[in-house]
Each structure stands twice: as structure tokens, then as C-alpha cells.
């Protein structure tokens, strides 16, 4: 009885020590990051400051369902919908943006969204004619067609059009630890650029939907 009691205490103590060590290692990591990086051009050390979503998704293990839900709710609330109600732009401009992988590195001169690409092909298949595409994200070939979007202005398409805007604006609104950047939220793309990427994905005339 007594022995079992002592064993239980020892287990609790070991657990506490382990938790303490993990917390210490987290603190040491934060200090190491601060000490190891410096500003270079537009890439300043403030980029190491994590928001709640970044912090919760910085471990090998994903956060609990409850934490993920909380992040998604907060991120969805932060989505800005198009100021004039226009969701769809020019797919030709969208294709150019999708091809362009530039922007926001310390060798880039400006953080202005107008200088950035949308870098979609880095991670996604989009127009099948482009054979140089990445595979970190799912294929977006026939994105609108597969979702039955015959006319993006039709109220029947409203839900998928709105979701797609939200996903491009803030991917974490739908998946807390998505690998995809938050293009609108982080000011990587402006409203018009997002409209153009929307057109690439949803315009029935876009080569993506042929």
C-alpha cells in the first residue's frame, strides 16, 4: 500500500519534472530564435513574433480539436469580404499571379502587395498545361467545374464562391494549421489580386475549368 503510494508520488514528480523541462526548452528555443536572427532589408526580426495561430501550430503534434476550433473561429471573424461585393476578377491576371513566386524575402525591395506573386503553382496543380507544379497542396484543376459553378454570379454558387474567397484571404479560418499562407489577412495580396486568383479558379472561361 505504502509502496504503491510512493510509486505514484514518484511518477507524479517525474511527470512534473518532465513538464518543467519541456517548458524550459520552449523558453530556451524562444531565446535562441531571438539571438540567432537579425534584420535584413524588409525581413525584420519582428517576423519571429508569433500570433495565436502560428504558436498553436508550431509542434509536431497538431493542437487539440478545441484549440483548432477556437483559432478557426477567430480567423474566420477576421476575413474581409470584397468591399464592393465583387468576388471575380480577370483569370488572365490570376494566372500571372499564380505563376509568380516572388515577394517578401530579404532580397525583395518592398512589402507592398502589388509587388508580390500569389505563388500558387509552387504547391498546387492548377492549369494542366503547366507541368511544373508542386504537390504540398491539392490539385486545383477543374476547381470550379468540379464544384458545379456554371456562373459565379448565380446565387446557387454563392456558398462556394464565398468559401473560396475566405480560403484565399485566410486559410486558417477553415484549417487552423493549414500550410497555406493567409494572403489577405497577412496583406500578401490586395483585394483586386485576390479577385483575379478567384477568377482563375472559378470563372467558367478560365483554362482551369475546361
Amino acid at each position: 500500500m505504502k509502496i504503491r503510494h510512493l510509486t505514484a508520488l514518484a511518477v507524479i514528480a517525474a511527470g512534473a519534472a518532465q513538464a518543467q523541462t519541456a517548458r524550459q526548452l520552449d523558453q530556451q528555443t524562444a531565446a535562441m530564435m531571438r539571438a540567432s536572427f537579425r534584420d535584413q532589408g524588409i525581413a525584420t526580426v519582428e517576423r519571429l513574433n508569433q500570433d495565436d495561430a502560428q504558436k498553436a501550430c508550431s509542434q509536431a503534434k497538431p493542437p487539440s480539436a478545441a484549440v483548432a476550433k477556437k483559432i478557426e473561429t477567430a480567423q474566420l471573424a477576421a476575413v474581409k469580404w470584397p468591399s464592393d461585393g465583387q468576388f471575380i476578377g480577370d483569370w488572365k491576371e490570376g494566372e500571372k499571379l499564380a505563376q509568380n513566386g516572388r515577394g517578401m524575402t530579404w532580397t525583395d525591395a518592398s512589402t507592398a502587395a502589388a509587388k508580390n506573386g500569389a505563388m500558387c503553382y509552387n504547391c498546387h496543380q492548377i492549369d494542366k498545361k503547366e507541368i511544373s507544379f508542386g504537390t504540398i497542396g491539392p490539385s486545383l484543376w477543374n476547381y470550379g467545374k468540379l464544384r458545379g459553378v456554371a456562373d459565379p454570379a448565380d446565387p446557387a454558387s454563392a456558398a462556394i464562391v464565398k468559401y473560396t474567397w475566405g480560403k484565399l484571404w485566410n486559410s486558417k479560418a477553415y484549417a487552423a494549421c493549414s500550410n497555406m499562407p493567409r494572403f489577405g489577412h497577412a496583406e500578401l495580396l490586395n483585394e483586386q489580386q485576390i479577385r483575379d486568383v478567384m477568377a482563375l479558379l472559378l470563372d467558367p472561361k478560365s483554362p482551369v475549368n475546361q
Binding site: 528555443t29 535584413q40 517578401m104 507544379f133 499562407p181
Partner: protein, 273 residues
């Protein structure tokens, strides 16, 4: 004469590189990787890294620096002057500096202590300039002396274990305007950016892949890149701020990747696109 022939071979192979993957690509999406592998095979007999290796060996053996001594008494972890096999056990704990050090940071220590160079000044020098170019050439030769050996980083010292834990945390650390961590690209098997295959560095990615392939000669830039340079450009693309040369985060990441790669055969210095 030899180098002229080598350059011609590189030019021919580079021309083939641009053609082969595209042709292969039209038949089958995955065969771009085969095209690149084929191209690497073609270059194996004339990897320009050899030129850096020869320069590195000279730099190791020649008396240099304010004290005019060679690096032959430098301890890379296996005892003073022992080069063979040292690379596959780095980064590791060094009792004299009381730090876990990777190859480049250890070289800085030796260049300062033995030769009288200013390590901080070399660390602050841009890549490929001045004594930075010496460190790169030394890394090429030293790693070549472990070619064909298996990665075997020690994890006995508590500081080596701590460095692994810090490196793991740094690997998963998300930040910057695009929310990227190392793990965003290197956390899963079989992923690509455009046509570039991405090794999964959270485990042993295989012989001669990932940590077991650097330093490497990069045909696209005509430069030899040490692991420090490789990490520097990863952080640039991650949209992070600038990592200090031989800074703690770079060494900790080396420990994390190197320990994960245990048993993988080193092909460094490799040749890359």
C-alpha cells in the same frame, strides 16, 4: 587543360539538363526526378566540387593567418588532425569551447585559436568573400573525407541532447508573413515545390538525401554551398529574418537533421541542379 575539358562537360550536361526533364515530363509527371538523377549521374565523374576539395585540402595544410600556422592540429571531434570520419559525427559537443558545434562553427574556432583569425569577423563576412570562401572550401574537403560513411552524430552529452530538442522546436517554429516553418516543406514524404523534390527531414530521408548531401556544388549558381549556406537560403525562402552564420539555431537544426539521418550514407559534397 583538365578544367577546360571539365567546363565543356558541365556545359554539355547543363544543356542536357534543360532538355531531359521536360521531355521526360511530357510522358510521366514523376520522371522529372529521374531526369535530374540521370543528369547528376552524368556529372558524377566531373563534380566541380573536386576543385573546392583540392583548395580546402591546401588550406588545411598551409600555414596561414596572423600566427602563420596550418589547421593540422584542429580537433574536429575525433582528435587533433583527424579528418576522416569527422564530418558524419558533426555537429557534436566540444569540451574546449563548451559548445555544440557544426563543421563551420568548429572551423571558425580553429581558425581563431590556431591561426589567429577573428572568428566573429569571418562569421559577418558575406558568403564566398574573403575567409568565408576558405571555410566553404575547407568544409568541401573535410566532408569529402567521410564520403560513403554513415551519419553517426553522437547524442551522449546532455548538451547534444538539448541541442536536438531545440533544433526540433526550431524546425516546427512557424512565423513570418507566410506562416512557414521548416516543417511546412520538409515534414512529409513525397512532396514537391514546383518540380523540386523535398526531403522529409523529420526522419531519415535516405542515403545521400537532405543532411547527408551537403555541402554541395550547385550548377544553377556555379557555387559550392555549405550546410550553413543551404540553411540561410531556406530561411530566405521561408520569409524569415537573416540567420547569423554559425548561430545557435543553425547548429541546433543541424543536430536535429543529422541525428534523424542516422545511418544514411553521406555523399557530400554532392552535386545539385
Amino acid at each position: 587543360m583538365r578544367s577546360t575539358r571539365m567546363m565543356a562537360a558541365i556545359a554539355a550536361a547543363t544543356a542536357a539538363f534543360t532538355a531531359v526533364p521536360l521531355l521526360a515530363q511530357t510522358q510521366q509527371p514523376k520522371s522529372a526526378a529521374d531526369g535530374i538523377a540521370e543528369y547528376r549521374k552524368m556529372l558524377e565523374d566531373g563534380n566541380p566540387a573536386e576543385l573546392f576539395e583540392a583548395k580546402g585540402e591546401d588550406l588545411w595544410k598551409t600555414p596561414r593567418g596572423p600566427k602563420n600556422v596550418s589547421l593540422e592540429a584542429c580537433d574536429l571531434g575525433l582528435g587533433p588532425g583527424v579528418v576522416k570520419g569527422a564530418w558524419v559525427q558533426l555537429p557534436r559537443w566540444f569540451p574546449d569551447t563548451r559548445k555544440v558545434q557544426d563543421l563551420e562553427s568548429r572551423l571558425l574556432s580553429c581558425m581563431q585559436t590556431l591561426q589567429g583569425f577573428d572568428a566573429a569577423e569571418i562569421a559577418a563576412t558575406p558568403f564566398d568573400k574573403g575567409e568565408q570562401a576558405s571555410v566553404t572550401a575547407l568544409a568541401a574537403w573535410i566532408s569529402s573525407m567521410s564520403r560513403g560513411m554513415k551519419m553517426a552524430l553522437p547524442q551522449k552529452h546532455p548538451e547534444e541532447k538539448r541541442a536536438y530538442e531545440l533544433g526540433k522546436r526550431a524546425f516546427f517554429y512557424r512565423g513570418g508573413p507566410m506562416d512557414f516553418a521548416c516543417a511546412s516543406c520538409h515534414g512529409e514524404d513525397g512532396k514537391r515545390i514546383r518540380l523540386q523534390d523535398l526531403p522529409n527531414l523529420t526522419k531519415n530521408p535516405g542515403d545521400g538525401v537532405g543532411f547527408a548531401a551537403w555541402p554541395a556544388y550547385r550548377v544553377s549558381s556555379g557555387e559550392l554551398w555549405s550546410m550553413q549556406r543551404r540553411l540561410n537560403d531556406c530561411f530566405r525562402q521561408q520569409r524569415f529574418p537573416y540567420p547569423g552564420f554559425a548561430s545557435d539555431v543553425t547548429v541546433a537544426l543541424g543536430v536535429y537533421m543529422g541525428v534523424n539521418a542516422k545511418g544514411a550514407e553521406s555523399i557530400a559534397p554532392a552535386i545539385k541542379r
